[in-house]
């Protein structure tokens, strides 16, 4: 019983004991308790079995692949690991990834805030459509997300010839990589903020306005402090996805080594060249980013929960 406790059973026990405070009732409760308790959770073997299945599933599909990344990365020792990371192509991929992620986070932060504000603070027709459009990049295949920019800026695309005539390079260069990343990560900040701001309503803003605050002051001093943790959470997820985006970026980048390769693309190249250790070394950085993101996310979640 001590190894796997049924949480519901415990709660029910407490609730029952509190309600039945009179002495006559208590004996009544005691007589009923064993049957109620038994019916309200599974038997111990079933509980153990379910927990083992759950843990086994998570281990097989998540833990082992994650551990494999780090073990493979270090399989040839520290020197191999570091030389893989200090390779000029790797460094340029890391640099490009950081720049792209920083830019798209900044852009999405700004527009995510504005979109969430518009959607949650006013009533207007077509709001559901607007939310659906914001969500759309979530459910579109990353490859399709990349393709749309090829169709716009590629040589056979709508602006292809004009761009070539004017010697402007978008596709297979930094601008397209950034655009594709922004497209893919567009929903993260707004999606995180919309439910939060919806729940908070508009009365605090109204109170601030009635006390004489301007719109900007109200936003900075009343709205922003209330959503700062949710905002941070959105930034975190947006950043993780921006750094790790593969499909969309792969379509628009052109895979030019040392120029338009981001970390995930660099990993692909190394893997396809059978440089497994180097591929996993770079991959381990991204895996580490994922772990750090999740740890911070858990900390933020606990903070948000305590605030409630």
């Amino acid at each position: 019983m001590t190894f796997i406790e049924a949480t519901t059973n415990r709660q029910a026990g407490f609730g029952g004991a509190e309600e039945n405070s009179g002495p006559a009732r208590r004996s009544d409760f005691a007589a009923r308790a064993p049957r109620g308790a038994k019916a309200n959770t599974e038997t111990l073997p079933v509980r153990i079995l379910l927990v083992l299945i759950a843990l086994g599933f998570l281990t097989l599909f998540i833990v082992i692949p994650l551990v494999a990344v780090f073990l493979q990365a270090f399989s040839k020792g520290w020197t191999a690991y570091f030389s893989a990371l200090t390779d000029p192509d790797a460094i340029s991929a890391i640099r490009l990834t950081i720049i792209v992620a920083a830019c798209s986070v900044a852009v999405n932060l700004f527009f995510g805030l504005i979109a969430a504000w518009t959607i949650t603070k006013y009533r207007f027709p077509g709001k559901t459509l607007l939310i659906t459009l914001i969500d759309l990049p979530f459910s579109i295949s990353p490859v399709v997300s990349g393709l749309v920019f090829v169709l716009l800026f590629g040589l056979q695309g709508f602006f292809g010839h004009w761009l070539q005539d004017n010697d402007i390079k978008i596709l297979f260069a930094f601008p397209a990589i950034l655009l594709a990343t922004i497209f893919v990560t567009f929903p993260f900040v707004a999606r995180e903020l919309i439910p939060l701001m919806q729940e908070q309503g508009t009365t605090e803003e109204e109170a601030a306005l009635s006390l004489g605050a301007s719109g900007l002051t109200t936003f900075l001093k009343v709205t922003l402090p209330n959503i700062k943790w949710g905002l941070l959470y959105g930034i975190l997820l947006c950043n993780a996805r921006a750094m790790g985006e593969f499909g969309a970026v792969s379509v628009v980048s052109g895979h030019i080594r040392g120029e338009t390769n981001t970390m995930p693309l660099h990993i692909e190249i190394l893997y396809n060249e059978y440089q497994l250790t180097a591929a996993f070394a770079v991959a381990s950085l991204l895996a580490l980013l994922a772990i750090v993101t999740l740890v911070l996310k858990a900390a933020l979640e606990r903070k948000l929960e305590r605030k409630r």
Binding site: T203, E204, E206, A207, A208, L209, S210, L211, G212, A213, S214, T217, K221, V222, P225, N226
Partner: protein, 358 residues
């Protein structure tokens, strides 16, 4: 400041929330907006504050059309139904907010703001709670903070939306009295929204009764209680007993007994008689116009009530009558009841046909 509301209308989609509301609020008075849930009280208050916009009609602040004054410029102290305190600010910062966000030219130096906030906190008796956050306060304390915050900007008018709605009966009562005293001291024009008639009757100088987006009656508490303008107000204010009656030959008939004659009564037809439970006197079965059997006797505090089942031309009707202290009745007793003061309303019409005191 004097506030006039002229012909105000407001719709939400197809739903009419306010219909041609006219209201004069005198400078310095404490006015209660009383009405059942959904009658449009909050909507009216928000339009006065400039937090909502009417579809038609105007609001005048001291005789000046407020259409072009936005909520920032109106200087209203608004106390929200659920306080709307700033969660991430301490009590002190909450109260100081309105002073700190003023444009630099009008802003007082910080030490004066501190002094003023301290005075306000003393004024509402929460000086010890300055460093607490709203979620560390009880409902009554939050209410005081909300009031202090609204008062900090020296408002032209104080608008309170069910300020005591979420509090328990005892706290309500003491805050009610405290608000009355506070108003006496400050003399700021105040509008208090409530659906608690007792609260309105006790606190307000004047009461506005609202129903379905319309003003049903405006008057002093005594007028509202003693001379309800129509059946809605009669029914809403205080307890009431409703009896179906008939008007015939200038007489009011209850079943086969005549209650009274009145030559002014027009025509013939069904009508309703409204009477307060304490205006039903117990009397002899043979003489009283109403008679029935006592079903139960209840004591509520110092008062006693009897549930009497009236034998009403075949239909049974259960009414509640207050028992005078000396009357002794037991369940099962046959008793007679005579309406002492009552009003007669024609079926379907709101206006009273007659009122009478026997």
């Amino acid at each position: 400041m004097k506030i006039d509301v002229r012909n105000l209308s407001k719709r939400f989609g197809n739903f009419v929330a306010l219909k041609n509301v006219d209201l004069d609020i005198a400078s310095g008075e404490l006015l209660a907006l009383l009405g059942p849930s959904g009658s449009g009280k909050t909507t009216l208050l928000r339009i006065i504050a400039g937090l909502d916009f009417a579809d038609g009609g105007e609001v005048y602040f001291a005789g000046e059309n407020a259409a072009n004054l936005n909520v920032r410029k109106r200087h209203v102290g608004f106390v929200f139904q659920h306080y709307a305190l700033f969660r991430h600010m301490t009590v002190f910062e909450n109260v100081a907010f309105g002073l700190r966000v003023r444009p630099r030219r009008e802003r007082k130096p910080e030490h004066e703001i501190v002094k003023r906030v301290k005075r306000l906190l003393e004024f509402v008796h929460i000086e010890g709670l300055a460093e607490r956050y709203p979620d560390q306060l009880s409902g009554g304390q939050r209410q005081r903070v909300a009031l202090a915050r609204a008062l900090a900007i020296e408002p032209n008018v104080l608008l309170l939306d069910e300020p005591f709605g979420a509090l328990d009966a005892k706290v309500r009562k003491s805050l009610r009295r405290w608000l009355r005293d506070l108003h006496g001291e400050l003399n700021v024009t105040s509008v208090l929204v409530t659906h608690d008639q007792e609260e309105a009757l006790e606190v307000a100088d004047r009461i506005v009764v609202m129903g379905n987006g319309k003003i049903e009656q405006v008057g002093t508490p005594e007028e509202i209680y003693n001379e309800p303008a129509n059946s809605f107000v009669f029914d809403f204010i205080g307890e009431s007993v409703k009896l179906p009656v008939r008007i015939e030959n200038g007489g009011i008939w209850i079943g086969s007994r005549r209650l009274a004659t009145n030559d002014e009564l027009p025509g013939t037809g069904p009508a309703r008689l409204f009477v307060r439970p304490h205006d039903l006197t117990f009397g002899e079965v043979s003489e009283a116009p109403l008679q029935g059997a006592v079903r139960a006797v209840r004591r509520v505090g110092a008062l006693s009530f009897a549930d009497v089942r009236l034998d009403y031309g075949g239909d049974d009707l259960l009414v509640e009558a207050s028992l005078p202290p000396e009357t002794l009745v037991r369940p099962g007793d046959l008793v007679g009841l005579t309406p002492r003061r009552y009003r007669i309303y024609e079926d379907g019409a709101a206006e009273s046909l007659t009122s009478a005191a026997l």
